[in-house]
């Protein structure tokens, strides 16, 4: 197997065995989901200039020497290429995302080889063996007790240099937001910011919610107001409230001014509640319906607001005065006849365990466990529904490290 570390610095000779220079770097073209094809060699010529030799001119790539097909004068040197990745400069020794393992690793070496008749980068060596090889002390381990661990090139995401949307591996975008958040926590801030920037606002919002608060704050500042505003807009209201509490007055004002007024009002209401109470835990994004609506009308309403909601498991029936009557589960909506009215379907709030905004965390936990609730409505003193506490809000408080 051929490794980048073994060929870098090697002599580059033309077909007349004249030394052209030394191999300084290798440039590849990388498309997500493919092995990266070698397109140019960056050679430091005998005069000390950097020259780019197109890979078509390369006869063989060996450990000591690189042989060219033509004599040097016949080679058309390329101008400085754009949109190429420099293997030594941008990849080797840098952090890289191992998408399958959902982790950040450092590149100790790169393995090269032929794939579909093209010289390509096949794998990323992240093992201790790679370190030994680079240090030239692989002989310390003659019995190969330390094994090579290669990560398939198609399953990694480089982060140095420009990170454009079309160079982001789709597998990375398919990762769970919590895994992406872990990756961002491990990257340095510049790269982490770039990764968040390359995500769609909705996806970025989910990832941001999963980050630890300290990093949330740093990242928001680092993203700049425009992008930060777009992401915050997509976060759920309770998360925005938590986030705003991390900032100083002036900064919070700046970010809130980017949101719609109705949103700001909701956030403001939430912030007033203590952290470890039902009010502090609840989310104010929920769908309510009128008792006289039919199931069909309700489903239409759900369709309309669904894009703004993180999850929907219940709809909440509220009378003309805003008084909470009771919930209807999605399941019952699904089973009911389209013409049936909500007032025939909801479970009366009187016979239901509901929460008050000032209930402390342990009381919330006890109630939800006792009655096997996935979510519980929070009812304020005037009988109006203030928000909904779902089990994931509670879990986060109980196991903050996960």
């Amino acid at each position: 197997m051929l490794y980048l570390s073994q060929i870098l610095g090697g002599r580059v000779e033309d077909s007349a065995d004249q030394v052209v220079g030394r191999l300084k770097d290798i440039l590849v073209e990388s498309k997500p989901g493919n092995y990266a094809r070698i397109v140019f060699l960056l050679v430091k010529s005998k005069k000390g200039e950097d020259i780019f030799i197109p890979y078509e001119y390369v006869e063989s790539l060996g450990r000591q020497t690189v042989d060219l097909k033509n004599i040097f004068d016949k080679i058309n040197l390329a101008p400085t290429p754009s949109r190429c990745i420099y293997l030594s400069r941008d990849i080797l020794d840098q952090q890289i995302v191992d998408v399958d393992g959902a982790r950040v690793v450092r590149v100790n070496d790169l393995s090269l080889g032929i794939f579909e008749d093209q010289m390509c980068v096949l794998g990323v060596d992240v093992s201790f063996r790679g370190i030994l090889r680079r240090l030239g002390v692989a002989w310390l381990d003659p019995f190969r007790l330390v094994s090579v661990h290669l990560v398939d090139w198609r399953k990694v995401q480089p982060v140095k240099g420009a990170l454009k949307l079309d160079t982001i591996s789709s597998d990375l975008r398919k990762l769970h937001p919590a895994d992406l958040a872990n990756i961002i926590e491990d990257l340095n801030l510049h790269h982490g910011t770039k990764l968040v920037n390359s995500l769609e606002s909705r996806e970025a919002a989910k990832v941001l919610e999963e980050l630890n608060p300290h990093l949330q704050k740093i990242l928001i500042k680092h993203l700049g107001p425009a992008k930060a505003g777009r992401i915050i807009e997509k976060m759920s209201t309770d998360e925005i409230a938590d986030l705003m509490q991390l900032f100083s007055q002036k900064e919070a004002q700046k970010y809130l001014s980017l949101l719609q007024d109705s949103r700001v009002e909701k956030v403001t209401k939430l912030i007033k509640y203590e952290d470890d109470t039902a009010g502090g835990l609840m989310n104010t994004d929920f769908i309510s319906g009128h008792p006289d609506w039919t199931v069909a009308q309700m489903i239409e309403e759900i369709r309309k607001y669904s894009p703004d909601m993180r999850s929907i498991t219940f709809v909440y029936v509220v009378d003309n005065f805003g008084k909470f009557l009771g919930p209807v589960s999605l399941r019952n909506l699904l089973l009911a006849d389209n013409k049936e009215k909500l007032k025939e379907l909801y479970k009366s709030a009187d016979r239901l365990a509901t929460l008050r905004p000032d209930y402390p965390l342990d009381k919330v936990v006890n109630l939800m466990t006792k009655y096997d609730l996935y979510s519980a409505a929070v009812i304020s003193h005037d009988g109006k529904i203030a928000g909904v506490v779902t089990i994931d809000d509670v879990m986060r408080c109980l196991a903050p490290k996960a």
Binding site: R106, L135, L189, Q253
Partner: protein, 419 residues
Amino acid sequence: MKIMRYIKNSSWYIRLAFILSVIGPGIIAANADNDAGGITTYSIAGAHFGTKMLWVLFLITFSLAITQEMGVRIGLVTRQGLAGVIRENFGLRLTAFAMILMLIANIGTITAEFAGVAAAFSIFGWSKYLVVPISALAVWFILYKGSFKTTQKIFLLFSFFYIVYIVNGFVVGPDFGQAAKSLITPTIEWTMPFLVTMIALIGTTITPWGQFFIQSYVVDKGLEAKHYRIERWEVFFGAFVTNIVSFFIIISTAATLYKHGIHITDASDAARALEPLAGQLAQILFAFGLFVASMLGAFILPTATAYAFCEAFGWESGFDTTWKSGKTFYGIILACIVVPVIIVLIPKISLIKIMVLSQDINGILLPFILLFVMKIINDRRIMGEHVNKPIGNIISWLTIVGILVATAALLVISFIGYY
């Protein structure tokens, strides 16, 4: 808007949090210099050589300020620790070299910390075979189970204890005129003990780990470029304060021990410098201070070492990782505790010598780490417009050359002395 009123009402703590979030790295890193190795080295410098070394202390105050400021600047620009910056810009070989130097220096310092624990309890006649393993277990347990950050803060708070030396300095009523003169009068003795103490003095004040520590601190805190100006003054202030304390330790020991020709061979000798202030309590006071300062270092250093290694080589780190995925991280921490403990437990080994010689190792290795820092800070590709100004370069180079000359002199003299 209601939210504004809310934040306005609670702004006093938000503002305080802002101030506290910025003030920190410089003063904390500088304050952590007064660990077991530091306290012993300063005591010996004063007890054995009077005020003769004050000029060195005066000069390295500037070196400390400048080198720490460079660490802050690199952290602000690159947003990663020194180990990561070295790895990404110098390749694997030089990284391995830098990391091994750091490991040796840090193991040396941790050994000094455990020697400090042993020395503190030796004042009460407690056996080191008892207290060192117990404190090592305590360190491991708190690191593994408890909160690293909280513990670190508690011990840092305790380490301000050394301000008693300032009070003590005034109680002793030393010759401040003489001290001031010594500050600006270079005196050097071309002898082994003098050079050994001098290099230790430099090595305990400006440390390789301090360079890694301040940069990581800036990165972890998420400080912004706009904080740079405050941060720079804080670093300068921190360097000044820590060396004021060092100054008073030296003049305290100079006015008490040096005057009576007492050489420090164990901790209770060093403790006698506090007698003018504390009288009978001097021994207890000194033992307490030495113990907390030692424990502070014993906490920070193994963890800091492990974080740097994992950053350089891309291994998983952090106390929230599992044993399996974080085995290298935990392994390094364990090694950084176990090896020093074994060294300290060698029968009949001189604790005082461990504490001073480990600082010599730090001093001798420091120039190499500073070379990396200098290369990074002057590289426009890394630092952009934030490269060093000439004054920073001059002071840093003088520091590096100064230590190298002193080390070379020490080598020559020990060679001559041998034959």
